[in-house]
Symmetry: C2
Subunit: 501 residues, 2 copies
Amino acid sequence: MFESAELGHKIDKTTFRSEVPKLREALLDAQFDLRENGSFPVVILISGVDGAGKSETINVLYEWMDPRFLSTLAFAAPSDEERERPFMWRFWRALPPKGRMGIFAGSWYSSSIAHHIAGKLSRGDLDQRMDQINRFEAMLVNEGALVLKFWFHLSKDGQRQRLKSLERDPRTAWRVTRESWARVKTYGKLQEAAGHVLRMTNTPWAPWIVIEGTDDRYRSLTVGKIILDALQKRLADTRDQGFPVAPPIVQKTDSLDVLTALDLTQKLDKKAYETQLAKWQGRLAELVRHPAFAHRSLILAFEGADAAGKGGSIRRVTAALDARHYQIVPVAAPTEEERAQPYLWRFWRHIPRHGRVTIFDRTWYGRVLVERVEGFCTEADWLRAYAEINDFEHELHEDGAIVVKFWLQVSDKEQLRRFKEREKIAFKRFKITDEDWRNREKRPAYHAAVCDMVDRTSTGTAPWTLVEADDKSFARVKILRTICERLERALTDEKPKNGKD
Amino acid sequence: MFESAELGHKIDKTTFRSEVPKLREALLDAQFDLRENGSFPVVILISGVDGAGKSETINVLYEWMDPRFLSTLAFAAPSDEERERPFMWRFWRALPPKGRMGIFAGSWYSSSIAHHIAGKLSRGDLDQRMDQINRFEAMLVNEGALVLKFWFHLSKDGQRQRLKSLERDPRTAWRVTRESWARVKTYGKLQEAAGHVLRMTNTPWAPWIVIEGTDDRYRSLTVGKIILDALQKRLADTRDQGFPVAPPIVQKTDSLDVLTALDLTQKLDKKAYETQLAKWQGRLAELVRHPAFAHRSLILAFEGADAAGKGGSIRRVTAALDARHYQIVPVAAPTEEERAQPYLWRFWRHIPRHGRVTIFDRTWYGRVLVERVEGFCTEADWLRAYAEINDFEHELHEDGAIVVKFWLQVSDKEQLRRFKEREKIAFKRFKITDEDWRNREKRPAYHAAVCDMVDRTSTGTAPWTLVEADDKSFARVKILRTICERLERALTDEKPKNGKD
């Protein structure tokens, strides 16, 4: 969930200065429109890591918009009035009415996460509360509200640096308290709890928007643009009220994303490749023979651009496995039988039993990649798919499966080179079709879809591994090493839940 | 949830014989249409109490429809293949494809309920699984499936009698096993667990349909008609696929319902009234002074037809209370401020703190009564309100509130008499308006709305009490007695959860 927010996003002063006046004007217009014609309230949650700029952002929003129609709702320790009523009462009291925007500094999430980290709320109770919150937010959206949930993220190192720089400046030093530093220590715990909570509550009707908190200009501009975009789309939406409207997938404010951040020049020379390949293949062969693996299973998901080298990588993995214990599932267009079922059905049928490995060559992510880009399903369909896929992988994980997901990224230039090579070499010619050439033209659309996919489905239990695949040797070794490391950790550290009947 | 299914519904032989041929023909037609044009699967769950006719109903459906396009999916103890995969895998395998109907004899609910009763699945784990099931069913419905969930109910006595009569008939005696009798003993536990599970999973997209299982003809005819009705509506629905379609509210097959079953002739003579009134008012005054009440609160919800005597009853309750400790909230048309918020907001704002009483004269049920009948909100809005209201009352309960809900029922004749009387007596004239006369014409629509309301929102934690109100004395005493009994049980037996921060 946090990959895109650890890339070091930055906006320079000149860009910021030229963009802000337009944005402010548009925000004021939208706010006016909301007040005059908007029959819905806007609920904005500002949450995240300490020091990631939560209150600074709220100040900027007040500066940019008409403060008469904004309200900020902060929640400290509950009053005695509040303690003697249900948990959600204080938030109900604070809801903004139609035509207005309410900014929640702290929300129904904050105390739940804090209490969980402090050991006062068990995982089960936390999950129950998240379920309650999902129903509450669904009700809000059904009642017409536009719900925007921001999570401001900092890497651990980023948090430390940010606190130091706040301390250095006398104008901001007061923001840094002893608790701020204490929270750096519990960073890992917060990330784990937050990752879980964000996955549970990343619903199609109110998805999370994770923002990198390091750079003030980037953070302010991005939040402002997202609010503007969501407001404008919602104001223009003429559908019947009562139809839940998911906030839109958001345009980027800079050119940095999880894919452009990859260093595709990474290489492995022939000798190093052979040594490493042998090493990791040997390790993998051992790991699947580990006694603990008899109660687990391994699911490998391969996605990537055409000619990124999925097939070759899969062969290097299976070389380490016993043919009786693995199955490769190549995923092409669905069969007639599969089209007559929910889209996840054709993957469920291939789920391995314990002690086995299933390798998917292309996967259930087709829904949010090819089906989204080609318009094979509606926007509502692929928007809800993120949560459905997270649920699916969570069920696999709960049953003891180890889910390892790879996206193989190849540069435009290298892809072109491989396409041309395939056309030349007789035995590779079957691999290249007119469709592949057409897909190349859609690279920007696929690029955006991959970034959204990683942001929304890279979870603690089933994270994405992005593989720099311009050099096939480098890619294959990275894939094998990742599988081994995930397996090793799972077989030694984790206890499978197997909450089975 | 089970009130309507304990009334002794019966269909006589003649009616049954005349209705069945039409129903069968229509079902076959709809099934043909589904096969030829239907781009959706039909998922039918048959669940409920032992001996309530689950397998008999499945047999009847096979007899009435084309068995080539039906499949029955039964789930015994999981195979080793199934045990080594996630819980939902066996159900995914069994899903019917588009154009076909799958009847699930036992489903994703059965084992969860059974394990919970056997103490192998904690309440928290049960809730988590129900959440998972809700998401799964939402996905099915979003993917186009029509999901019909039947729960066959018998009263405890009904179950005993039914087992005896099955045993008596040599053709059915084999159905009754030692386990069947064992289950009579755990009847209470099953009801409690089932009530909870049905409340949790009574979603707008896949609500439960509770059917009384005593009479074979009633059960078969009702199930057949509901399936037909749902199929026809879904086939005629031309909206975009992907729009969740809730199964329709179902027409009744006989004239018996929770309201017609009331004996409105019940009376209390003046002397008995005075004694009883004094007794229960005294008891109530004591109970709200009970030390345990300092950590609880009391919420009284009054609904009823015009002139049913809500105001008078409320005055008899408050006579026993200290004016500093209660608040009466009369609910009329929402104010401008309230209209700018979700419909539950105006009730949330009046939730009492601990040690206090709030009396709502008309309530949040306006959504599924007047707003439904008068068309003030869309069908989708009032359909989702049942679950939202259950969630709301569950939150109140979890926080220690005791929620007591009354529907005051008055006969057509008595209502007319009271209207006329009000017109005559000067100081009562303000109580009667043209609108009251108009509402009288809508009695049948209100009648149906009240029955649906009781079926869908009478939960274990906040049950409805239906009050026979033709005699005001009888009604007032029943109300006071009910409040005292609920309070007494709550203050002595129950532990409030107060899972507070």
